[in-house]
């Protein structure tokens, strides 16, 4: 019997074995994949064709003379030999004891992906990735198991090739790096090879200090094998999917005629302007990436470059990104010394579109034209008031298109992340390694904002000492960030065959320094007149973390795995006597499949039980020094006159000397399973998590501090959940494969304590600011309720189900409707969320989709509440605005101050979203022995099924207030390998 063994792409597989079952007869394929088994007696046999990493093929054959048989092997869907990156090392997937999910490039989301986390949206149980908006580079809100904190960060720690990044966002949601919407937009997703997501504390505790919200380890691509040049290019077109439903010009005219006075009707115009059409555009994006990779004997290398040019669908917005990455991983002294050098660089040049235009386009009167016909205010139509000094109607909305086109807000940001790791294997004791990791993350962000002095916004905003008016803006900003990390650790790994044991151990030290320099610049009008000068030229906030850590992993008989870790951390954010926290963890795994009673199972091919427990810490509160009171000097527009002198003022700051680590203790029980030769694999995990000493912004007793609210360690919260994922190779033949992956997450959280002593009269701490009511919050953190629960008045409805204007339920029955009648109603976190991925390959064709669903999440429709009342349309300040068509349905006047806090606006925002549908064709080899071309097409954000009444139900904060809409995007891509 002879023939050829090849892989799924028809490449020969050298070294595959072909054996006849029940005999010792067999052959191994040569370099061209050919095998030959000679001297086989006539008869019927079963052949087994095996290759590591591929599914063993069984083939019945009847030998009747010389027989030629070719085989094509299919790779194993989930290789259990896969090596997974864990903290400070790697582990074989089958030896893992913690809840760790690995996602590699072949499973990534497809299409135009600007920020890395979007690659795994919907791919991992327990991980929710919600894009912040549709703006270019706007990033996402990432939550692993829902986050563990209240006022401190809920973002996971992200580590790229061993460099832990500063947390992505400030507490107020802004980017920590000036000049970009999200710091992760400075990382090219195309360079990423895999994500390793550490979910439970037994896995994350080795990162103790910043691990409470999970850890995402990102590994970039490395070179291997023969030199390869890869070039990929994508071209895409993005369009607005759905407009906010507002009154048409005719509807507005009819509405004002029916409800307004003659004077108000006189404010209407004859135009028919669709303001949303005016501000949005069809946006084009190109994304090109090139890389050269390979390995010489001692030097694997990869060099890549990328160029992304993305337009936003909101006019004037764009992002251009240049990226480059180098990875060199040479080894010396017969692999005793391995170096790994990673350098990534990015330059983003962005123009930010003024997102206020989104709300303005909803509100601006459609009976008015875009342009006024005069040259004033750049030609844009504005509300005028001849009696005012600047000629504009005060507080009236501004022309949405003018807001965009008259503002030039440009940034230029550089960022580089890099590290050198040295791994030395001791000559006298090869089981022992010494590792050093020297890393940096530096950025330089700067930008300029220019608003012309003819623009309505800021028109004549400043009167100088001579009484001359100046308008517009010409300001700049600049920020340097330089974060450094030094780590050193020893690792030891040894098999003790005689006692069937394997031990590996790690012990190390880590020093991290986060230093930012923010430069201050004067406020300048368009013509260069200084409005106010900063008091200080710059500020340099800094914080440090110093840690020691260790891990011991013990495997007995390849069946029982015990892991213990401990980390001790010091944070400069706490007072010296509160500085250190210790974070231990323990895990046990039982590879049940290796027990005799399961070994012979035909159906079950893998079964592992995992038990984990651990404690992690949190210190990321944004404030660096406030464990003692510091005096802050006021700026030049906050001076005070005593006598003839204006003084800048020293103000003592609020402080909290007892602040210390927030601690999250979590327990995890999980099973990994596989059926039918691992054609079906999956995991199921249950976890329970308790956070105590919550870093929580709470009221201080008045008179006891310089601040009435401060982040203190008060409160407890719990969360628990179940995660499930299953992957199945439904069809696995050489021509046709079909795989499906499904993941499901159920999660719930509850606050169990918020005050030092239990106080039933304490409603909780309000959060979640809304538009349409000064300083109003729609959410509250209360004991016995989930985080960010909505806190609202209960609307009363008439017989037809219409809300009764200003009528609410007197829930405490005291005869008065006031804040005491607010109640908890729903919350923005989903009860469950799901991801579904399907991929079909037929010969050279491939097709797939990724869909996500979310159930039980609610949103506050701030667009309805803020624009959908008679008062918002026929505005008392003397303008007519447009509003949501909801006003026709609800008929609300808006005269009640409680209207904006009505539960009428809390809407079910459950949804199913088709994230991506893709199809591809692989031309295979272009030339004789090299070159491969793949062409693909996909549609992103294909459709959303939801009952939610706003534009998009997927709102990270739960407050839907003029979200930059996520566009629908059509992508054409090709990928060339040489």
């Amino acid at each position: 019997i002879k023939g050829k063994v090849s892989d799924e792409t028809n490449q020969p597989l050298p070294g595959a074995t072909v054996t006849i079952d029940g005999t010792t007869i067999g052959s191994t394929t040569d370099a061209n994949g050919n095998y030959a088994i000679n001297n086989v007696k006539h008869g019927s046999y079963t052949l087994s064709i095996k290759f590591i990493g591929y599914v063993t093929l069984k083939q019945a054959v009847t030998v009747n003379g010389a027989t030629a048989l070719n085989f094509s092997l299919v790779p194993e869907s989930k290789s259990l030999n896969e090596v997974v990156v864990i903290g400070y090392g790697t582990q074989r997937k089958k030896d893992l004891s913690g809840a760790i999910t690995n996602v590699t490039s072949k499973d990534f989301q497809k299409g135009v992906i600007t920020t890395p986390e979007q690659l795994i949206a919907g791919k991992v149980a327990g991980v929710s990735v919600i894009s912040n908006s549709g703006a270019p580079g706007s990033g996402s809100k990432i939550r692993i198991r829902g986050g563990a904190s209240l006022s401190a960060s809920n973002d996971p720690l992200i580590v790229i090739d061993g460099v832990p990044l500063d947390n992505a966002r400030n507490a107020d949601g802004t980017s920590k790096i000036s000049g970009v919407a999200d710091p992760l937009s400075l990382i090219n997703p195309n360079d990423i090879e895999s994500f390793s997501i550490l979910k439970d504390a037994s896995a994350t505790a080795i990162y103790g200090n910043r691990a409470s919200n999970g850890v995402i380890l990102i590994t970039t691509k490395k070179g291997k094998g023969k030199p390869t040049l890869d070039f990929s290019s994508q071209f895409s077109v993005s369009k607005l999917g759905k407009e906010v439903s507002v009154l048409t010009a005719d509807q507005l005219r009819a509405y004002v005629k029916a409800n307004g006075t003659t004077a108000q009707q006189a404010l209407l115009g004859n135009a028919n302007t669709d303001w949303q059409k005016e501000i949005y555009q069809t946006a084009l994006t190109t994304d090109n990436n090139i890389s050269v990779s390979g390995a010489t004997k001692v030097l694997p290398y990869r060099v890549s470059a990328g160029y992304l040019n993305q337009e936003g669908i909101l006019k004037t917005g764009s992002l251009r990104r240049f990226t480059g990455a180098i990875n060199l991983s040479p080894s010396f002294f017969t692999d005793h010394l391995k170096l790994n050098l990673n350098i990534k660089g990015a330059n983003v040049k962005q123009r930010f579109a003024n997102q206020d235009a989104i709300g303005a386009a909803v509100s601006f009167n459609p009976t008015l034209p875009v342009y006024s016909g005069s040259k004033r205010f750049g030609g844009y139509y504005e509300w005028l008031d001849p009696s005012s000094v600047n000629g504009l109607k005060s507080l009236a909305p501004l022309n949405p298109l003018g807001m965009l086109e008259q503002r030039d807000d440009k940034s230029n940001v550089y960022r580089s992340i890099g590290n050198l790791t040295i791994d030395y294997k001791f000559h006298f004791l090869p089981e022992l390694h010494a590792n050093v990791n020297l890393g940096y993350d530096v950025s330089n962000g700067r930008g300029n904002v220019f608003v012309s002095d003819s623009a309505a916004v800021g028109y004549k905003r400043f009167k100088d000492a001579n009484g001359v008016f100046h308008g517009g803006t010409k300001t700049q900003y600049k920020q340097l960030q330089s974060n450094k990390i030094f780590e050193g650790y020893l690792s030891y790994a040894k098999d003790f065959k005689s006692i069937k044991s394997h031990v590996d151990a790690v012990a190390g030290y880590s020093y991290q320094d986060f230093l930012t320099t923010n430069y201050n610049f004067p406020d300048i009008t368009a013509d260069g007149t200084i409005v106010s000068k900063p008091v200080y030229p710059f500020d340099k906030p800094e914080n440090r973390l110093i840690s020691v850590y260790g891990r011991l992993n013990y495997v007995f008989d390849d069946k029982y795995i015990l892991t213990g870790t401990v980390r001790r951390d010091g944070s400069s954010r706490f007072a010296p006597d509160r500085r250190y926290g210790t974070f231990p963890s323990a895990a046990f795994a039982w590879k049940m499949i290796n027990e005799d009673f399961l070994k012979g199972s035909k159906v079950l091919s893998d079964l592992k039980l995992r038990l984990g427990w651990g404690k992690t810490g949190q210190q990321d509160i944004g404030e660096n020094y406030s464990y003692i009171s510091y005096y802050n000097l006021s700026n030049n527009t906050a001076q005070y006159q005593l006598g003839d002198t204006f003084y800048n003022l020293y103000r003592p700051g609020g402080y909290y000397p007892n602040r210390t680590w927030e601690e999250t203790t979590s327990a995890n029980v999980g099973f990994d399973f596989g059926f039918i030769d691992n054609r079906i694999t999956g995991t199921v995990d249950y976890y329970h998590r308790k956070t105590k000493n919550l870093l929580n912004r709470i009221s201080q007793p008045a008179g006891s501090n310089f601040s009435n609210e401060i982040v203190a360690n008060i409160g407890d919260a719990t969360s628990s959940g179940v995660e499930f994922n299953i992957n199945a190779d439904v069809i696995r033949t050489s021509d046709l494969t079909w795989s499906i992956g499904l993941n499901a997450t159920y999660n719930q959280n509850k606050i169990t304590k918020l005050t030092i002593a239990p106080d039933p009269s304490y409603a909780g701490s309000p959060t979640g600011g809304i538009s349409g009511g000064t300083g109003q919050n729609i959410q509250i953190n209360s004991v016995n309720y989930p985080r960010y629960a909505f806190y609202v008045y209960q609307q009363v409805y008439d017989a037809n189900g219409k809300p009764l204007d200003g009528v609410f339920v007197d829930r405490n029955g005291d005869g008065v409707i006031n804040e005491q009648d607010l109640y908890h109603y729903k919350n923005p976190d989903p009860k469950g969320y799901f991801g579904l991925t399907s991929n079909v390959n037929y010969k050279k064709w491939s097709a797939g989709f990724t869909a996500r669903a979310s159930v039980g999440n609610y949103a506050y429709n701030n667009v309805f509440s803020n624009t959908g009342t008679q008062r918002s349309i026929i505005n008392p300040i003397g303008v007519i605005n447009n509003g949501s068509t909801n006003v026709l349905e609800s008929g609300l006047s808006g005269s009640s101050d409680k209207n904006v806090l009505s539960d009428y606006y809390i809407q079910n925002a459950s949804f199913i979203r088709m994230d991506n549908v893709n199809v591809g064709y692989n031309f295979g080899k272009l030339f004789k022995n090299s070159g491969a071309l793949r062409v693909s097409a996909n549609v992103q954000n294909v459709f959303v099924i939801t009952k939610y009444k706003g534009v998009d139900p997927e709102i990270g904060t739960g407050i839907d207030n003029n979200l930059y809409p996520r566009p629908r995007t059509y992508v054409l891509g090709f990928n060339l390998s040489l």
């Binding site: 009696s387 005096y631 802050n632 906050a638 005070y640 005593l642 008045a702 006891s704 310089f706 609210e709």
Partner: protein
């Protein structure tokens, strides 16, 4: 390792660094005053002193004004910010954000004063090597800080009756502040004011914007006038004594034209004002105080430019009850009747409609001298008096008609006529007799919208009672009486929760 974790801010200073020089003392001292005018350390907003509410609504004068004027016949507001209509409807709860704002603002100013007083102790001064004339100056600052603290306690006493009580003797953070009963607080304020009398600068001898003895006497007169409400015991004789001291020893006199009291450059008017909160359109910016008083009442057809602003906020108006205090209403010969009526209806049908109710044009960000606009159209220059001579005349007169010892009725009538002669420009409005009830009306005409009305109506037992009604009192058009406990505001729930020593006021 531990040393590497000791980091300090680049620009912010420790107390030891701030208070190591007389100049540092002055800048910290200025903050004790500035906290009346500013809402934070970045003007107009962005680095607020009080957390948990919108920074613009954490301003002292704006919130004090809302609490004092909106529940009365003098003012309505059209805005729909949740909790704001509760003032006029008299349905506020202990979660009301505006009450939370004034409460925390007042206690914050007390906390600042406590800190300054602590830092200015003789022990601290000598340990920092400050002595001689410098030390003497700082001792005067400390006495003024005690005055400002007493003033803020008088606000808390008036609005919340039984607030938490902290002095410089209570170290921060270590103990929960105790609650003080209204009566005890009255005694404390009285004793504090008397204790600092010798340390304060003589009337009109201090720098502009700083308190002197006259301010202290004026505050004493004010709390004595209301002593019966606060303590159950009337002190009209003391009110007479202290108002008379201001009148006789202060050296103040009424300026000629009432309509020019509230103007952009009224800092030049040092004749009548005893103590002001100082604002500046360029250097002292906030969304409260003078900016609020000049923007919030402008709407409808009112020409913004004439008010020295870029545009009105279209919120505040008055009820006809105030208009009707003036004989002849809006077109009264009494020039204090500063109403804007064009396009405005006297009757209010809908509080949220700006044109319902006459607007008030008493506050303008334009200069007395030439009517030109202030330094900025967005933030007003006008200074707001917290004590002015006219109030002292009215205190003397009322305490006298109420039978206070030492009062002289004809002197009282003379004082009232001084106000009326300025109002009428001649003696046509003079009175020959005066009753206690007439003084309430005179206070309305003279002091409307300056933050006195609620206190006055409570003293006259007309605030919650159904004996005196105004449009939409209690939330109904014709007006109605409300629960008697509403003469005192509730302590904010957030502080009752944070401080177990606090007992909520009756009724809430």
């Amino acid at each position: 390792c531990n040393k590497k974790l000791d980091l300090i801010p680049t620009n912010d200073l420790t107390s030891a660094q701030v208070y190591n020089s007389p100049d540092g003392y002055k800048k910290a001292f200025a903050k004790v005053y500035a906290a009346f005018a500013l809402t934070g350390n970045s003007g107009p907003s962005g680095n607020g002193d009080v957390q948990g509410i919108d920074e613009g609504t954490s301003d002292f004068f704006r919130l004090m004004w809302c609490a004092q004027e909106l529940p009365t016949d003098e003012a309505v507001v059209g805005w729909g910010d949740p909790g704001l209509p509760d003032f006029h409807n008299m349905t506020w709860s202990s979660s009301n954000l505006f009450l939370k704002g004034i409460y925390y603002r007042a206690v914050y100013q007390i906390t600042l004063a406590n800190d300054f007083i602590r830092q200015s102790s003789d022990a601290n001064l000598s340990s920092r090597g400050i002595s001689g004339a410098d030390a003497d100056k700082i001792r005067v600052y400390a006495a003024e800080a005690r005055f400002l603290r007493a003033y803020q306690y008088s606000i808390l006493m008036d609005l919340f009756a039984n607030p938490p009580f902290v002095t410089e003797k209570d170290p921060l953070g270590s103990t929960l502040p105790k609650q003080i009963a209204r009566k005890d607080l009255f005694n404390y304020i009285e004793s504090e004011l008397k204790a600092i009398d010798g340390q304060l600068v003589k009337p009109k001898q201090n720098e502009y914007g700083r308190a002197d003895q006259a301010a202290e006497w004026a505050l004493l007169a004010r709390i004595y006038l209301n002593a019966e409400v606060y303590t159950g015991t009337a002190r009209y004789g003391d009110a007479i004594t202290y108002s008379k001291m201001v009148i006789d020893k202060g050296g103040y006199k009424l300026i000629g034209d009432y309509t020019k009291l509230m103007r952009a450059d009224n800092n030049l008017n040092t004749d009548e004002f005893i103590l002001t909160i100082n604002y500046d359109g360029l250097r002292t910016q906030s969304y409260g105080g003078a900016t609020f008083m000049t923007h919030a009442p402008v709407g409808g057809s009112m020409p913004a430019a004439q008010f020295g602003i870029s545009g009105g906020w279209a919120g505040l108006r008055t009820t006809k009850a105030l208009v009707n205090l003036f004989p002849g209403g809006a077109s009264s010969a009494d020039k204090r009747a500063q109403f804007y009526t064009a396009g405005q209806n006297l009757e209010i049908t809908d509080i949220s409609t700006f044109t319902d109710g006459y607007a008030i044009s008493k506050f303008k960000n334009v200069k007395i001298a030439d009517g030109s606009q202030g330094s900025s159209l967005d933030y007003a220059d006008m200074d707001l008096p917290i004590f002015r001579l006219a109030e002292q005349y009215l205190i003397y007169a009322e305490a006298t008609t109420r039978g206070g010892t030492g009062g002289d009725l004809s002197t009282a009538i003379g004082y009232i006529n001084k106000l009326r002669e300025r109002a009428y420009g001649n003696a046509n409005g003079d009175v020959t007799s005066i009753t206690t009830d007439q003084i309430l009306d005179e206070r309305g005409r003279e002091l409307y919208w300056e933050g006195f009305r609620r206190t006055d109506l409570i003293r006259y037992k007309k605030f919650v009672e159904d004996s005196y009604l105004w449009p939409f009192k209690g939330g109904v058009k014709a007006g109605k009486g409300v629960e008697s406990y509403r003469t005192i505001y509730p302590l904010p729930t957030s502080d009752v929760a944070a401080n177990p020593n606090l007992k909520q006021n009756t009724g809430y």
